[in-house]
């Protein structure tokens, strides 16, 4: 706004505006004065021939002008040193003094230009008013000029026949003019001063506001520039007015390239639908907040932005302040995160499936193991069964071995007994024959004696036979057995146990029963059953033996009236080593062996028993 100061006035560079203007005025005045003096000097030199130049008057005028020139240079010098007030006063004083000096020396030569000179001096006298310092020196200068005019008029009028009256008239009118001008100047100056003071105080306020504005502006600029988010100010035609660093960085441009162009010019455009939405919203509300838009940059890459915009009024012009946050990366990260998440989920799913499969496998393996365990269990059971069977078999073998040994023993004993028995028998037979032939003196007595021998032999013989039957060694199952004689044999063998205790009641089938069997084993069957029956009878009792043929089956029932057994024990009584007898009395093998023999003969054995009533054993065999 302010024109640049002349080089000479650089001292006032930092001074106030008024001082700068004042100094500038003085400077111009000086320059004008110097130019005027220079021109006058030149005029003096060229207007007079050299011969005239040496005249006194011309010489003094030129000398005075030269002095004034120097004095003006001094004023300029002082002005350049910052003494602008002193300079202005000196300027006024020097010009007035030299002017009057020249006028005095020049005499009537200047009378014709007197009015112009007076006007010029009057103006010079007003200089303090302009400087607004030592204003009252205006009166001094005016008075001095009037005084000098008076002297000049007096002197000139005396020399050049000036009319006396016109001389006073002129002087008075000039004086009045001076006073009026001074008063007017003072008045104006006074009013101006008031105005000026007010203006100055206003200026302080304005300056403060200006500073504030400047600061705000600075702050705004700094903020605007340093914002990490892209910001721009554009007019209503979308032409950019201002952009920040982030904006430039985002678009890869320089700030000066952006101003005056639209973003579309810079190769960046919102997708049409987003743009439409943005413009509508902005028109409707005057702002856009957090609008999600897609933008395609000049390389064709798509960016996702959160867009903010507000309509402002700057210098009575509407503008749009926009900012945006590029969330492309965030979006990409989100997308990636989502992708990872999905992948993770898939992975988890996969792993879960793997685990489930493994679990299934484990389950299957487990089941297999359980299955195998079961098999082992059952094998174990089989093994223990086998062991049990082995034990039983061993015991049975021992029993069989015992029976075999017993058989051998019995056979040997029987043979040894039979031979002496044969002696007795032979002798008895011979004696009996003798007595029949020759008679006896005491026939009754000898008959009894002979009979006793016969009965004894018979009984011994039967026992031996029975034992032989019981223990004979023969494995064949198809010996012809006379059932009744076998039972009888058993009774003979057990005679010792039966006598005086048990009565045997035989209810035999009316015909002999001959079946194929192993005689020895059949003996064992009946001995075992009858021994059990005898042992079940505590004191005295009866054993009934019943035989019958029913159709194609042979039935044998052996019942006692002994102590009986609990029904629940009946299922176990054929188990090996099961016994109700006191230890040592029974092996627990009797009925087990019996059952085996019966099974070998395709027979069956059943038990019925009641406590204190007795037990009935029923055997049945196939019989044709």
């Amino acid at each position: 706004m302010s024109k640049e100061l002349p080089k000479l006035l650089r001292t006032y560079k930092d001074s106030g505006f008024v001082i700068q203007e004042k100094s500038r005025l003085i400077y111009y005045l000086c320059v004008i004065a110097l130019t005027a003096v220079f021109l006058l000097l030149a005029f003096q030199l060229f207007s007079h021939p050299l011969s005239e130049f040496l005249y006194r008057s011309t010489l003094t005028t030129s000398g005075s002008l030269l002095i004034l020139f120097v004095l003006l240079l001094v004023c300029l010098f002082l002005l350049s040193k910052g003494h602008y007030i002193l300079s202005s006063h000196l300027l006024a004083i020097f010009v007035m003094l030299i002017t009057w000096l020249i006028m005095m020396l020049g005499g009537d030569k200047f009378l014709a230009q007197l009015n112009y000179i007076i006007i010029g001096l009057m103006i010079l006298s007003m200089l303090p008013l302009i400087m607004a310092k030592h204003r009252y020196s205006v009166a001094l200068y005016s008075a001095f000029n009037i005084f000098m005019l008076f002297i000049f008029l007096t002197y000139s009028a005396d020399n050049y026949d000036l009319v006396q009256s016109s001389k006073w008239n002129y002087l008075i009118s000039v004086s009045v003019a001076f006073v009026l001008v001074a008063l007017l100047g003072m008045g104006i100056c006074f009013i101006n001063k008031k105005d000026f003071e007010k203006a100055e105080s206003d200026l302080v306020g304005i300056k403060k506001v200006g500073d504030d504005i400047k600061q705000s502006n600075e702050l705004f600029k700094t903020l605007f520039e340093s914002m990490p988010i892209s910001m721009s100010l554009a007019d209503m035609n979308a032409k950019l007015i201002m952009v920040n660093k982030a904006f430039c960085k985002d678009l890869g441009i320089k700030p000066e390239d952006a101003v005056g162009k639209t973003t579309a010019d810079l190769g960046v455009a919102m997708t049409p639908e987003h743009e439409q939405k943005f413009v509508e919203k902005l028109k409707k509300d005057g702002f856009v907040d957090n609008l999600e838009v897609s933008v395609v940059d000049k390389y064709g890459a798509r960016h996702e932005l959160y867009f903010y915009a507000t309509v402002l009024t700057i210098n009575n012009q509407k503008a749009v302040l926009s900012s945006n946050i590029d969330v492309t990366e965030k979006r990409q990260l989100e997308f990636k995160l989502k992708e990872y998440n999905t992948k993770l989920e898939e992975l988890v799913k996969e792993r879960t499936e793997d685990l489930e499969a493994s679990n299934e496998e484990l389950k299957a393996t487990n089941e297999e193991i359980i299955e195998k365990s079961k098999i082992i269990g059952s094998k174990n059971y089989e093994l223990s069964e086998a062991l049990e069977l082995l034990k039983t078999t061993q015991q049975k073998l021992i029993q069989t071995e015992k029976m075999a040994s017993l058989g051998l023993l019995t056979a040997g004993v029987a043979h040894e007994v039979n031979n002496p028995l044969n002696y007795i028998m032979g002798a008895y037979s011979a004696l009996e024959n003798y007595f029949q032939e020759h008679g006896s003196n005491e026939a009754a007595k000898t008959d009894i004696l002979l009979n006793s021998i016969a009965v004894g032999i018979e009984r011994i013989s039967n026992i031996i036979k029975g034992l032989n039957q019981f223990s004979r060694q023969n494995d064949s199952m198809d010996e012809a057995c006379d059932l009744h004689s076998i039972i009888d044999n058993c009774i003979v063998i057990l005679h010792n146990k039966l006598k005086h205790k048990v009565d045997i009641i035989k209810k035999y089938f009316n015909e002999p029963i001959i079946l194929k069997c192993n005689i020895s084993q059949f003996h064992q069957v009946f001995v075992n059953i009858i021994v059990n029956a005898i042992q079940a009878i505590p004191d005295k009792g009866t054993i009934e033996i019943f035989t019958n043929v029913e159709g194609e089956r042979l039935i044998i029932e052996i019942s006692d009236d002994g102590v009986g057994m609990e029904e629940n024990l009946l299922t176990n009584i054929t188990d090996p080593f099961f016994t109700t007898k006191a230890p040592g009395e029974g092996t627990g093998l009797g009925l087990s062996i019996t059952q085996t023999i019966i099974n070998d003969h395709n027979g069956e054995m059943k038990f019925e028993s009641k406590i204190n009533k007795g037990t009935k054993v029923t055997l049945s065999f196939p019989y044709k």
Binding site: L421, I424, M425
Partner: protein, 121 residues
């Protein structure tokens, strides 16, 4: 003329008692062992019935009868034993080597009856 029978046993008492009990009906030859028995059979060609004890030293009843039967197949052979019937005797019965076996103590009547029946008197 009585039927001639041979009884072989290693016990003299048995031999004596057998002879006493059967000599009324039969002409009884006795031998103490198998060899004597074979000698007697050679001498007395008309012995019809041979009864032997089972258990004898050197040669048992069945072995003796086997030899005798080879030489004299038409004679009737029997075993009289203090033992019960055993496999050897059973085989002899089954093969027809012996007709029957008797057990000790002997029953005179049974043996008499059997012989009489066998020789068809």
């Amino acid at each position: 003329m009585k039927t001639k029978i041979l009884y072989v046993d290693d016990e003299p008492i048995n031999l004596e008692l057998f002879k006493i009990n059967f000599e009324k009906k039969f002409e009884v030859f006795i031998a103490n062992d198998a060899f004597q028995g074979l000698e007697l059979l050679e001498k007395e060609m008309d012995i019809l019935v041979v009864i032997s004890d089972m258990k004898m030293p050197k040669m048992n009843g069945i072995e003796f009868i086997k030899k005798a039967k080879e030489l004299y197949p038409d004679k009737k052979y029997y075993i009289l034993t203090g033992y019960e019937i055993n496999a050897e005797i059973q085989d002899a019965l089954n093969s027809g080597l012996i007709l029957r076996y008797f057990s000790k103590p002997f029953n005179v009547k049974k043996i008499e009856g059997t012989i009489i029946e066998a020789i068809g008197l």
